[in-house]
């Protein structure tokens, strides 16, 4: 385990070096901005001092605007992950339980359609039919302009809730209303993937000998599917969930763009369209490093949960 931790730390360090090279390249691709006469070593030492550069567009330190936009993205991504798990996991178990029946077929077809759905189109359909036709939800943004909520944590649900304004509950429900469509948009693809993966791992698990033993001992359906089956199916799932961090990030960029959600994704795209290479390179550096770090932690967690994966990993890690 210690060896694995060191190996993982080494990999993270190598990856960070690779990522800084890339972000340095992005910084220097601005041929019109004569500001970047930084050498790579200066760039690195500046980062260690916490200086990620200053945006030429907003004249703000780029790290500040990154941190300003981060909570909006986290709020969206966290809520979407929860929704995706709440929908995907039970559907996957149900599909596995009713394997080779119409229920399995229906769930399978829904999940493959959701999986094939281009999420930017899905978002537009939701906007056209739910927000515009039936006016059930707002079209874009995080909160109605009539509410004046002081940003404390940056998480709109928390900020409206702890606000001391008289309309704080109205603002709170307005924030929820604004979250509905973006969260559905972002949760759809991960939910479909989780559903399919759960179904697959459950089917494999249910064929295992210990399940047959449990059945022979006379355990009932609930115990087998939800306790024995799901618990063991979750182990390979945690490994695969690490891959979802990337998927969620990509989905979040598209979702934020469509719903004008003021998070990291929209900030990155705005920086690109304004050719703000300082902001762009900071954004790329931090988001990518975050994903690498989260993946490394999840992988270690997987090893810790299930030492079996060690041997199978060794096949391609040499």
């Amino acid at each position: 385990m210690i060896k694995l931790i060191f190996r993982q730390i080494f990999f993270v360090l190598v990856s960070f070096t690779g990522v800084t090279l890339i972000s340095y390249m992005v910084l220097n691709s601005a041929d019109h901005g004569a500001n970047t006469s930084l050498s790579y070593w200066q760039y690195i030492s500046n980062i260690f001092k916490g200086d990620f550069g200053t945006s030429l567009v907003t004249a703000e330190p780029t790290i500040n605007s990154f941190l300003l936009h981060l909570p909006a993205s986290l709020e969206l991504v966290l809520l979407s992950s929860i929704l995706a798990l709440l929908v995907g996991l039970p559907l996957g178990v149900i599909a596995a339980k009713y394997h080779r029946t119409p229920i399995d077929t229906i769930i399978n077809n829904i999940s493959i359609t959701a999986y094939s759905m281009p999420i930017f189109w899905w978002a537009i359909l939701l906007i056209v039919y739910i927000a515009i036709e039936f006016q059930l939800t707002p079209v874009a943004g995080r909160l109605n302009f009539i509410y004046d909520i002081e940003p404390v944590t940056g998480f709109m649900l928390i900020d409206t809730f702890i606000s001391d304004q008289s309309y704080r509950m109205e603002a709170f429900f307005d924030a929820i209303n604004h979250l509905i469509l973006p969260v559905i948009t972002l949760a759809t693809l991960p939910a479909a993937i989780i559903c399919r993966m759960t179904r697959q791992t459950m089917l494999t698990t249910l064929n295992a000998d210990y399940i047959k033993t449990a059945q022979a001992k006379g355990l009932n359906g609930f115990g087998i599917y939800w306790i024995h089956g799901l618990r063991n199916a979750l182990i390979p799932l945690t490994n695969m969930l690490g891959l979802q961090v990337s998927t969620l990030m990509t989905g979040a960029i598209l979702t934020e763009y469509i719903f004008s959600w003021p998070g990291i994704g929209k900030w990155l795209l705005d920086a690109l369209s304004q050719t703000d290479y300082q902001a762009l390179s900071t954004g790329i550096l931090i988001t990518t490093s975050m994903v690498i770090l989260i993946n490394a932690v999840i992988e270690l967690l997987g090893f810790w949960l299930n030492p079996q994966t060690k041997s199978s990993k060794r096949i391609y890690h040499g």
Partner: protein
């Protein structure tokens, strides 16, 4: 924009003939339907390259609804957009862009990825480690962030978007190749070939590689569906195909301005993407059944 392997993969060992494979494939009607639609899309996108559709914009034909709508006309099957262009012929013109560029990036990623994978599996040790680690870094970067990196360095455009997508897809091909080649290398038939005196490179290319072809085919179909969604997403964001180009994602972005008054303008290009990707995934599901079935016997 998914970088996950949905289908469990296995290697094909025995050659059980085309007929039995087709029987397994066609036992699921969705797989056959997927294949059929894919063929139609392929033919349509090929033919639209040679047919000169005179699709001019005119204000007199602005925003005509599809033909099944009360106000629709038979002249414009799927209606027209804000600039009066026929949507059906634009979708046809867009097919070689969205579908064709995706196909090209997948081919590129397949060739480079398999090449890198074979080199890594052949030399093992440090070469393999270097290849795996650099692929891990690419894999860790979210695909859209990677595309943003490519576009910020090379500038927007359909070709650059295709290149970005190819880079995104690369790690999957390298990983599939390496892990399956190494798995096969441990099998008895490789030992037999070694005893026969075959050189390592001959074993790799003549004995092992054909058995890796099945999981690679599956990987290619997964990659194609990812590529189409990615290319369209980049077009939609204005990073890929640019506005007047009828690439499906770029069409969707253009149509957003009129979505309040003409929902069909945004519905149709997305539907084209969905149908294409869905057919590829159904087709992939069928392929997966063939490969899995062979594993069991």
């Amino acid at each position: 924009m998914v970088s996950v392997q949905l289908y469990s993969q296995s290697s094909a060992q025995e050659n059980s003939g085309l007929q039995s494979r087709w029987a397994i494939f066609s036992s699921k009607s969705s797989a056959v339907l997927g294949l059929l639609i894919l063929c139609i899309i392929f033919i349509l996108s090929l033919s639209s390259l040679f047919i000169d559709s005179s699709n001019t914009n005119s204000l007199s034909t602005q925003l005509i609804p599809p033909s099944w709508h009360e106000q629709g006309t038979s002249e414009h099957l799927l209606g027209t957009d804000l600039l009066g262009r026929d949507i059906f012929s634009r979708l046809l013109e867009g097919a070689p862009l969205t579908f064709g560029i995706s196909l090209l990036s997948v081919t590129f990623a397949l060739l480079v990825g398999v090449g890198l994978g074979l080199v890594a599996a052949f030399y093992r040790k440090h070469v393999q480690l270097a290849v795996m680690r650099s692929m891990d870094i690419i894999f860790a970067i979210p695909s859209l962030v990677l595309a943003i990196i490519v576009v910020s360095i090379l500038g927007p455009g359909l070709v650059n978007a295709g290149l970005a997508v190819a880079i995104v897809l690369l790690p999957n091909f390298v990983r599939t190749t390496i892990s399956h080649v190494i798995e096969e290398m441990n099998k008895a038939y490789v030992d037999a070939a070694k005893l026969d005196g075959a050189t390592p490179s001959r074993i790799l290319l003549k004995s092992v590689f054909p058995n890796v072809a099945a999981p690679l085919t599956l990987q290619t179909t997964i990659a194609l569906s990812t590529a189409i969604v990615d290319i369209a997403a980049l077009g939609f964001l204005g990073l890929g195909a640019q506005a007047p180009q009828p690439e499906w994602g770029a069409m969707l972005a253009e149509a957003r301005t009129s979505m309040h008054i003409a929902p069909w303008v945004v519905t149709l290009p997305g539907l084209a993407i969905l149908i294409t990707v869905l057919s590829i995934n159904f087709f992939g599901d069928g392929l997966n059944r063939i490969i899995n079935n062979k594993m069991r016997h």
